[in-house]
């Protein structure tokens, strides 16, 4: 099993913000995917001094594994507090893996209207995509075994941190 050094997630948020900054437009808005993506989107919003509220999206109603796994027990309401129509959006998630969550999020966003564009920003890209999706902004590419789960969480001080769990 590969063991890896886990980087500082807070520093990565700053790094990600700098990757995005040159491409920001005055009407760009961020949409975080529950729950890790929302934490990252909030930090990006602060570091980029965006004055617009971020959107929150829970893709539970759009997942393609619903018939196998059922409805997620803790579905959060999606909240898109702005008009999506004609706007450049940046979708934010913590980890990009199979690409299925991103696919579900894009589908959901289109049910709110037709955005001008959607870009994808993630803290970590662990490869092994199952769909033709790639990140536009990503500070960290990491190879992990499929049995390993890369988890972003908040510690007691409210700081973001990475951990890796082994799934049997």
């Amino acid at each position: 099993m590969p063991t890896i050094d886990l980087p500082d997630a807070e520093a990565q948020c700053s790094e990600l913000a700098e990757l995005i900054r040159p491409h920001l437009r005055s009407d760009t808005v961020l949409v975080g995917i529950h729950s890790g993506g929302v934490w990252v989107a909030r930090r990006l919003c602060e570091r980029l001094a965006l004055n617009k509220e971020i959107g929150l999206i829970d893709v539970s109603f759009y997942r393609d594994d619903y018939s196998e796994r059922g409805l997620h027990p803790r579905v959060k309401p999606s909240s898109i507090p702005f008009d999506v129509e004609g706007r450049p959006l940046i979708l934010v998630d913590d980890v990009l893996y199979t690409g299925r969550t991103t696919r579900a999020a894009i589908n959901e966003l289109f049910d709110y209207g037709r955005p001008a564009s959607i870009q994808l920003a993630v803290l970590a890209d662990r490869g092994r995509r199952q769909l033709p999706i790639c990140a536009d902004y990503c500070p960290w590419r990491v190879a992990l075994d499929p049995s390993q789960e890369l988890i972003l969480s908040t510690n007691d001080d409210g700081r973001l941190q990475w951990s890796v769990a082994e799934n049997a």
Partner: protein
């Protein structure tokens, strides 16, 4: 004994009655409903959760309103909805309930929404599907006889939670024809499970079930005593057909004793909410000034009802 509503993992697989549902399951449905509520405000009022699934509304008893809300809920989940007015077709030709079900299963039904005049009919169907080994077909009780109307009970709980946040300190009065009301039974079971502080059943002796005290309910034959310092008032529809059964002298006399007027409502807490499952009889159980007044939450109940039914169907179809 097997709980007919839950699968081996303790997940909800049919919704037959609120009685016997664990508190966590009820809370899960209400939490999920709040996510669905937002879907109805969007440009596209649909999510693809039940895409490709067939939901059969099988109504052995007339009800345009409940059938329509289930139909809207299923359509907002992207299901295909088939409405069967069985009273006018199969049953009229002599087909038994379970034969009707078998035929619909052969048409690849994924979910049945059932209303029946006989208490226990949805349970019978769920049991039948279990014996057939069809764990992939789900049943929702949309009202059976005098027994239960669980989605109405759940939407009432959603409404109460929306306005009152917490059940712990609540005094809730259910007023009217409790004897014939499956809504009242579902509400009382749900409120007990969710831990409401005090439940009152208010109505004339002839319209209250015997031994209702055993449900932990305080019985009041006097409306004033029943409403005093209440947080929530659930009015029930007085079914006109009860007048013929010598249970009541007249609609006018009923209104004078049990009609909710502004003066009566003033006895409840100033922020008390007034609920009604509809359809209302203005001037029989409720005064128009109350029904249209600021404390009435009767139309929000309808809106919440769609989200709650979406949550129920979304959860069932995934289990």
């Amino acid at each position: 004994m097997r709980n007919p509503q839950l699968n081996a993992n303790g997940e909800l697989t049919h919704l037959l009655s609120i009685e016997g549902l664990p508190r966590e399951v009820i809370t899960h449905i209400l939490d999920t409903a709040s996510s669905f509520l937002k879907v109805s405000h969007r440009d596209v009022k649909k999510v693809p959760l039940l895409r490709g699934k067939s939901v059969f509304n099988v109504f052995f008893e007339n009800s345009t309103r409940t059938r329509t809300t289930f139909e809207i809920a299923a359509k907002r989940l992207s299901a295909d909805v088939i409405n069967l007015d069985v009273t006018r077709s199969s049953t009229a030709k002599g087909e038994t309930l379970l034969d009707t079900v078998d035929n619909l299963v052969a048409m690849h039904a994924d979910m049945f929404v059932v209303r029946h005049a006989a208490s226990g009919a949805p349970h019978l169907i769920a049991d039948h599907l279990h014996r057939l080994g069809r764990r992939d077909v789900h049943v929702v009780n949309a009202g059976d006889g005098r027994h239960a109307h669980p989605t109405q009970g759940l939407l009432d709980m959603y409404t109460i939670r929306h306005y009152k946040k917490d059940f712990n300190d609540l005094v809730v009065a259910v007023v009217g024809d409790i004897l014939h009301s499956r809504v009242a039974r579902s509400d009382l079971h749900a409120l007990t499970t969710l831990g409401a502080a005090e439940l009152r059943a208010v109505g004339p002796q002839t319209l209250l079930p015997t031994a209702i005290e055993k449900m932990g309910v305080r019985v009041c034959h006097d409306l004033r005593a029943g409403l005093r310092d209440c947080d929530v008032i659930i009015m029930l529809r007085l079914q006109n057909e009860r007048m013929n059964g010598a249970l009541l002298p007249s609609a006018r006399e009923y209104f004078s004793c049990y009609g909710l007027t502004p003066a009566m409502l003033a006895l409840a807490k100033p922020d008390a909410i007034v609920m009604h499952p509809g359809p209302m009889n203005r001037g029989v159980e409720i005064d128009s000034d109350v029904a249209d007044g600021p404390q009435a939450v009767i139309l929000p109940q309808v809106t919440f009802g769609i989200a709650v039914r979406m949550a129920v169907m979304g959860i069932l179809a995934g289990n």
